[in-house]
Amino acid sequence: MNRIKKRLQENKKILSIYFTAGFPQLDDTTSIIKSLENSGVDMIEIGLPFSDPLADGPTIQASSTQALKNGMTTDLLFTQLKSIRESVNIPLVIMGYFNPIFQYGVEEFCKKCQETGIDGLIIPDLPLEVYQDEYQTIFESYGLINIFLITPQTSTARIKQIDEASKGFIYMVSSASVTGGKNDFSEEQLAYFKKVKDMNLKTPQIVGFGISNKKTFNQATSYAHGAIIGSAFIKFLENKKDSVGEFILNFIKI
C-alpha cells in the first residue's frame, strides 16, 4: 500500500514538514530527511526548487533561489534520493511547479519518483482538469498519489469534486494568501476549517500555509487530520540555532 494512505489510516494527527531541496546547502537533502524522520515527523514534502514559485511567499521563494544558485536540478535531486528508502520509511512527497516536471518529461519524472520511493506529488499549478485529462493515467501507473489544494474561496461544489478526485489527502490552504507564517488563525479561518470538517469528506485534509507554532498546529489539527509546516522550518534552517529535533519538539511536545 502507498505509504501516504497507510499513514493516514493510523489514528494520529499528522505532522508534515516541507523543505526546499538544495537549501541551505546543496547536499543537505538526505540529512534533513533523516533527521526529520528521527525527530518523529510523519511525512515530508521535498520542494523541487523553481525560478518562479507563484504560490509561495518570500521565505520559500528565497530558499528556492538559493537552492538553484547552489546548483540544484531535478536530476541531482533524484541522485541524492537514490538510496533514501534504505533508511527512511515515512511517506515522501515531492512538491514542485509544473514547468520543471514538464521539461523533464512527465512520464520520466513519474518513473524516477517510483524508482526512488516517492509516494505522491503536489503540483500547485497543475489544475485538476488538466491532470485528469492528460496525466492521471501516467501518475497512477507509477503508483503516485496526486494531491490537490482547496482554499477558503473554493466553492462547496468544487471541494466535493476535488474530494471525489483525491486518493491521498486534500491540501487545505488555510487562508487566501501565499505561503508564509502568521501567528494566529482568525475567526474566519477557523470557521472555514469547521465548514470543511463538517462536510465529512471521504479524503482526509491536511492544513498548510500559516502553521508557524504549536498553537496554530493544534488549532489546525483540531479540525483536520494534520498540518504542514513549511516557511517556519525554512526560517529555522536559515538560522539553525537548535537541532532539527528541538524544532520539531516545539510542535509536538504536550
Binding site: 525560478s51 518562479d52 507563484l54 504560490a55 509544473f98 514547468n99 514538464f102 521539461q103 489544475p127 468544487r158
Partner: protein, 395 residues
C-alpha cells in the same frame, strides 16, 4: 481542416494557452471566464467603452501614409499611430476596457504589473479616471531604469511596489501581482497588460486591442479602396499590440503577418529576447506557451534594449501563429532597432518607442514590392526612451 486562430472551449490556441494556475486563483479566473464575454458584448459596456476610446484616448488613431519612408524603401508604408493614444501607447486600449469590466464585476481595487512602465502608467491613468485604488508591481531593477514612468504613476495616485524577488524585472513583477491576487481574491481585479497569463486573459486583451486592426481596415478602405494590406508588421514582447494589429486579419490568409521579436545583442549572443527562436514549450504565468528556459525548466532572464520586449515568454496566440506558420517571426537586434528609430525621427518627424523601432527595422531587412501595402503598427512614442536614445547615440 481550416486553422483557427481563436481560443477553443478550454481557452487554448492549438496546443498553447489554458490556465495552469494554483487552486487559489480558480475562483477569480472562473468568475472572469464566465462573465467577460457577456460584459464585453453588452451594449451599454460597448457604448461606454467606445465613448472613452473616442473622447479620452483620442481614437480613431490616424493611419498615416509615411511618404518619405515609402520613397526610401520603394513601397507603400502606412503607420498606425497608436503612439498618439493618450499616455503614448496602445496599452491604454486594454486598460480602459478592463477598468470598465472591473467595475461591472464589482471590484474595488486594481493591481497590475509593468515592465517599462507603459502599462503601469496606462493602468494608473484609468484608475485615476474611475477613482479606484491602484497598486502597480514593477521590478526593482526596472524602477531604477524607468524613473520618469515611476513618477508618472505616483502622480496619478498609484502605489508602486518594487518586485525584489528573482531577477527583479517584468516576470517577477508579474509573479508579485499574481501573489497579490491570491491574497486578495474577492475585491481585486488584476489588469494584465499583454496577451499573456491564464485563460481568459489572452483572449480578453486581444479583443480589447482588436480595435487597432478594425480601424486599419476601415481606414485602408478609405484611402486605398480595399480593406486588406499585403503586410501587417508589429513588434512582439508579450504581444498585445501585435494581437490587436493582427486580429481582424487572422483569417485573411492573403494578408501576411510579420511579428518582430527582440534579438537583443544577437539571437546566439546569450543576451536576447527572441522567444520564438530560443524558447521551448513550457508554462509561464499560468499559460502554456513558448518560453525561454534552462534545460531544467527554470525560466531564464531575457535581454533587450527595449524593456517592453524583455519578456521570457510570448502570448499563446503568438506561439500558435508561430507554430502554425500563420505569422512569420523575425528577430531584430538592438543596433538595427536603434537605427530604425533614428531614421523614422529624421524622415517623418516621429520619435518611436524602441519596441516599435524593432518593427520599423524590418523595412531595411526585407524587400517589399512597389505596390505592396505595408502597415506597421506604431505601438508607442519614444519619449520614455529618450535617455536610452541619448546614451546610445551620445547626443
Amino acid at each position: 481542416m481550416k486553422n483557427s486562430y481563436h481560443i477553443d472551449e478550454k481557452g487554448c490556441y492549438g496546443e498553447f494557452g489554458g490556465a495552469f494556475v494554483p487552486e487559489m486563483l480558480q475562483p477569480n479566473l472562473t468568475e472572469l471566464k464566465e462573465q467577460y464575454l457577456n460584459i464585453l458584448e453588452d451594449d451599454q459596456f460597448q457604448e461606454e467603452f467606445q465613448d472613452l476610446l473616442k473622447q479620452y484616448v483620442g481614437r480613431p488613431t490616424p493611419l498615416y501614409y509615411a511618404k518619405r519612408l515609402s520613397e526610401t524603401y520603394g513601397t507603400k508604408v502606412y503607420l498606425k499611430r497608436e503612439d498618439l493614444c493618450h499616455t503614448g501607447a496602445h496599452k491604454v486600449n486594454n486598460t480602459v476596457g478592463q477598468i470598465l469590466l472591473a467595475k461591472r464585476l464589482g471590484k474595488k481595487r486594481i493591481i497590475a504589473e509593468t515592465g517599462a512602465g507603459q502599462h503601469g502608467v496606462a493602468t494608473a491613468t484609468v484608475c485615476a479616471l474611475m477613482g479606484l485604488p491602484c497598486v502597480i508591481y514593477m521590478g526593482a531593477i526596472d524602477i531604477e531604469r524607468q524613473a520618469p514612468n515611476v513618477a508618472r504613476m505616483k502622480m496619478l495616485g498609484a502605489t508602486v511596489i518594487p518586485a525584489k524577488s528573482g531577477s527583479k524585472t517584468l516576470k517577477d513583477a508579474t509573479n508579485e501581482a499574481i501573489r497579490d491576487w491570491i491574497s486578495n481574491p474577492t475585491d481585486t481585479h488584476y489588469i494584465i497588460g499583454s496577451v499573456v497569463g491564464p485563460h481568459p486573459y489572452p483572449d480578453l486583451v486581444a479583443r480589447l486591442q482588436s480595435i487597432i486592426s478594425k480601424e486599419i481596415k476601415k481606414q485602408l478602405l478609405e484611402v486605398e479602396g480595399k480593406e486588406n494590406p499585403d503586410y501587417v508588421i508589429a513588434c512582439v514582447g508579450g504581444g498585445s499590440n501585435a494581437a490587436g494589429a493582427f486580429y481582424h486579419f487572422l483569417e485573411e490568409e492573403n494578408v501576411k503577418l510579420l511579428a518582430v521579436e527582440a534579438a537583443g545583442k544577437g539571437v546566439d549572443s546569450g543576451e536576447s529576447a527572441a522567444t520564438s527562436i530560443l524558447g521551448k514549450t513550457g508554462i509561464i504565468h499560468g499559460s502554456k506557451t513558448l518560453l525561454m528556459q534552462s534545460k531544467d525548466g527554470q525560466i531564464t532572464e531575457p535581454y533587450s534594449i527595449s524593456a517592453g520586449l524583455d519578456y521570457p515568454g510570448v502570448g499563446p496566440l503568438h506561439a500558435h501563429l508561430f507554430k502554425s506558420k500563420r505569422a512569420d517571426f523575425v528577430a531584430i537586434t538592438d543596433e538595427d532597432a536603434m537605427k530604425a528609430g533614428l531614421q523614422l525621427s529624421k524622415l517623418e518627424g516621429i520619435i518611436p518607442a524602441i519596441e516599435t523601432s524593432h518593427a520599423l527595422a524590418l523595412l531595411e531587412q526585407k524587400t517589399f514590392k512597389e505596390d505592396d501595402i505595408v502597415v506597421i503598427n506604431l505601438s508607442g512614442r519614444g519619449d520614455k526612451d529618450l535617455q536610452t536614445y541619448i546614451d546610445y547615440f551620445k547626443y
